[in-house]
């Protein structure tokens, strides 16, 4: 069907081209950044483009962390109405590229030197078959702890360096009558935390083999069992009402001091910022204990579609602007993430941001930059979701032991491959 669609589109676009020889100075952009801070961040891009004379046709579809937007995208692609670009995650970009609906940015990429500035791990998802198909916007990192400093001071805690330190810290909080760990009991949050737990328990090599290469030996290893046991341990520090809670409510618990710590991606910083909290004085950002030196990332990308020729100029302008240093800096300061290229100055970033950028650079160079399985950068969506199922069922007790969890994980991933 896609092929037919393509021919149809080509026909349509050909006709359109004949009719309007002039370029269409407009970018059509599908995304799910609809909340105040995110929209403000994206607005920077819109204005950059406006300066160059490109209009911005906004197609925002929020909900389900991009689920609704991806459904809309699928419908748009099925209809043959490709947007200029769409916010996309990891393997989805590759799926669309394989279907042959993505454009080719290689020319722009070569001119801008993306090959050198964008971390190789990201290029795995933005380059398909030797062609640039997407422009990465940012790099989020998920192995973070977000800690309320006042609570930390009250219980006399220090930065935990190992998993056992972390447990000891949580015990202290528990003794002090604070909820130790703020967690939102939705499968992606649980799995995101488990990404960190696995990295911490098994180390970088293990994480890569298990969650990026999906090596069955590692998936059913004792280390994986230990990871599940560690997860089970963590879950005992969670308040009873955690199930179904939105992540931002969990963050709010830390901000208000009801809870000590949340394990969450760096987008949580946006919440602290919005609550007018400063890193270092109001809250602390540490790497998840035992994961220092490694970065488990996910990244928002702007997938570029195979638009008619008269829209290609606008698309190139969008791509260039997206990866421009000024936008990368401005956007990521607001968003809480770090730039998708490693050569952006960190002057505008706060302490956590600076640390994040340094970590990313180090991990990129040291080969410890790993895709987050929970966030769709470790394996295709079918596998990632099967993984989230198993973790969530383990957390909520449908799966009762770590042995069973490992068996389930192996079979679920096998099933979904």
């Amino acid at each position: 069907m896609l092929r037919k669609l393509l021919i149809g589109t080509a026909l349509g676009s050909g006709l359109a081209f004949a009719a309007h020889a002039q370029d269409v100075k407009e970018v059509e952009m599908l995304h799910w950044w609809t909340s105040g801070g995110e929209a403000a961040a994206l607005n920077v891009l819109k204005e950059d483009l406006a300066k160059q004379g490109f209009a911005w046709k906004d197609v925002p579809v929020a909900g389900g962390g991009g689920d609704a937007a991806m459904t809309a995208l699928k419908a748009m692609v099925a209809a043959g109405n490709y947007p200029t670009a769409s916010q996309m995650l990891g393997y989805t970009v590759l799926d669309y590229a394989a279907a042959g609906v993505m454009g080719d940015l290689t020319e722009t990429a070569v001119k801008e030197g993306w090959d050198k500035s964008v971390p190789a791990a990201l290029q795995k998802f933005s380059v398909y078959d030797g062609k640039w198909v997407a422009a990465p916007v940012n790099v989020h990192s998920v192995n973070w702890l977000w800690i309320n400093k006042a609570v930390m001071d009250k219980i006399g805690g220090t930065e935990p360096k190992t998993f056992d330190d972390f447990i000891a810290l949580l015990d202290k909080a528990k003794a002090a009558g604070v909820i130790p760990l703020a967690l939102g009991g939705q499968n992606w949050q649980e799995a995101t935390m488990f990404d960190s737990v696995v990295l911490s328990t098994g180390g970088p090599e293990f994480y890569k083999k298990a969650f990026n290469d999906l090596d069955e030996e590692q998936l059913k290893s004792d280390t994986m069992k230990k990871s599940f046991d560690n997860l089970a341990k963590l879950v005992t520090y969670v308040d009873p009402n955690f199930s179904g809670r939105d992540w931002n409510l969990a963050t709010a618990m830390v901000i208000k001091g009801d809870a000590l710590v949340q394990v969450m991606g760096d987008w949580a910083k946006g919440e602290f910022n919005a609550a007018k909290k400063t890193p270092g004085t109001d809250f602390l950002c540490y790497r998840f204990p035992g994961t220092d030196g490694s970065v488990v990332y996910n990244s928002d990308m702007f997938g570029m579609f195979d638009v008619p020729d008269d829209r290609k100029a606008a698309q190139a302008a969008l791509a260039t602007a997206t990866l421009s240093k000024s936008f990368q800096s401005a956007f990521n300061v607001v968003k809480g993430s770090v730039p998708a290229r490693t050569d952006v100055p960190d002057t505008d970033f706060d302490a956590c941001g600076k640390k994040g950028m340094a970590d990313l650079k180090a991990a990129n160079e040291g080969g410890t930059l790993f895709g987050s399985l929970a966030q769709g950068y470790g394996a295709p969506p079918a596998v990632a979701n099967a993984y989230k199922d198993v973790v969530s069922k383990f957390v909520h007790g449908q799966i009762k032991t770590s042995d069973e969890a490992v068996t389930q994980l192996v079979s679920a991933i096998e099933d979904a491959k």
Partner: protein, 318 residues
């Protein structure tokens, strides 16, 4: 009368013309011509798409449809998942939830709707105020009311916390957090949304019953309870059936209810088949499995609805 007559005779229709037969044949076919577009649309956009879905379920379509038949792997997987109860597979959870939800939702909506309609039918002052209050939930999108319900049912934010603040500290209501009970909160919210509409249907049915039958039954010495049980409720049979159709259709399409209220529930324990279908088709890029689950849903609906339609449409021969 003669004046009228001449005018009528003047009209041209009475002259037999050669083209008349074609025209009259067109006249005869007109009703079918009028119905045809609707019917054609239904055939293409409903039954055509159903066939398409059936076809896809036998391919290995992933992110996008692919058209090479690869066999019944999707069904084999669903079949296997049907029996994975410990730990429950998502499919097992979905279908058992559909059973629980479908039964309770339909049953409670019918019971509550009938009950409220009977109460409202007792010559109530302020019926004009109460009726829209019962009815309005149907007017709101669950994208919106889902959030309100989620808060209300959350033990840390809603009812439980409020009652604790008011001093009833032993009160405990955490179904929405409990994997074994979360589906019942979906029932509560679903009933809240639809029962008012069902009430309106029953109220209309009650108002349509001949008052003399009621009087006769009262003279026969029936108590109010007997009156309703023996006379009124049997007379409402057609309403029950219509309400059943409406509710069955709502139950099967309940998707946003689960998402907005529970985000799928702890460990996916609140999933319904429609969630399963959406997840697999759009989120997990397993379109073949999603299509197969849609086919099974449709087959189940067929098994339930078609006998009903058959009996209903056969009953009135002309």
């Amino acid at each position: 009368m003669t004046t009228v007559a001449t005018q009528i005779k003047l009209t041209p229709e009475h002259n037999a013309r050669p083209g008349a037969s074609v025209r009259s044949r067109l006249q005869d076919a007109l009703p079918k011509i009028v119905l045809a577009p609707s019917f054609a649309i239904t055939i293409v956009f409903v039954y055509g798409f159903i066939l398409w879905t059936v076809y896809l379920s036998f391919t290995n379509s992933k992110t996008f449809p692919s058209y090479a038949i690869t066999g019944s792997r999707a069904y084999q997987r669903l079949w296997r998942w049907t029996f994975e109860s410990d730990p429950p597979s998502s499919w097992y959870t979905s279908i058992t939830n559909m059973g629980i939800f479908g039964f309770l939702y339909i049953f409670i909506c019918l019971a509550l709707g009938l009950f409220l309609a009977i109460l409202l039918d007792q010559k109530i002052r302020g019926e004009g105020v109460l009726r829209p209050i019962y009815l309005y939930p149907m007017a709101l999108s669950f994208i919106v009311t889902g959030v309100a319900w989620k808060w209300f049912l959350d033990p840390g934010l809603g009812l439980e916390q409020t009652l604790h603040q008011w001093g009833w500290t032993s009160f405990h209501f955490d179904w929405i957090k409990n994997k074994d009970f979360v589906i019942y909160t979906v029932v509560i919210a679903g009933v809240w949304q639809a029962s008012g509409f069902i009430m309106a249907m029953f109220l209309a049915g009650l108002r349509g019953i001949d008052g003399e039958i009621m009087k006769a039954a009262q003279i026969d010495g029936a108590t109010t309870f007997q009156l309703y049980r023996r006379i009124v409720i049997p007379l409402l049979r057609p309403v029950f059936l219509s309400a059943f159709i409406v509710l069955a259709h709502l139950a099967i399409k309940s998707y946003d209810l689960v998402v907005a209220l529970t985000s799928g529930g702890p460990g996916g324990s609140a999933w319904l088949p429609s969630n399963f279908m959406y997840e697999y088709t759009f989120k997990r890029n397993e379109m073949a499995v999603g299509s197969a689950s849609a086919v099974i849903m449709l087959m189940t609906i067929t098994a339930i609805i078609v006998p009903y339609l058959y009996s209903e449409l056969r009953e009135r021969p002309r």
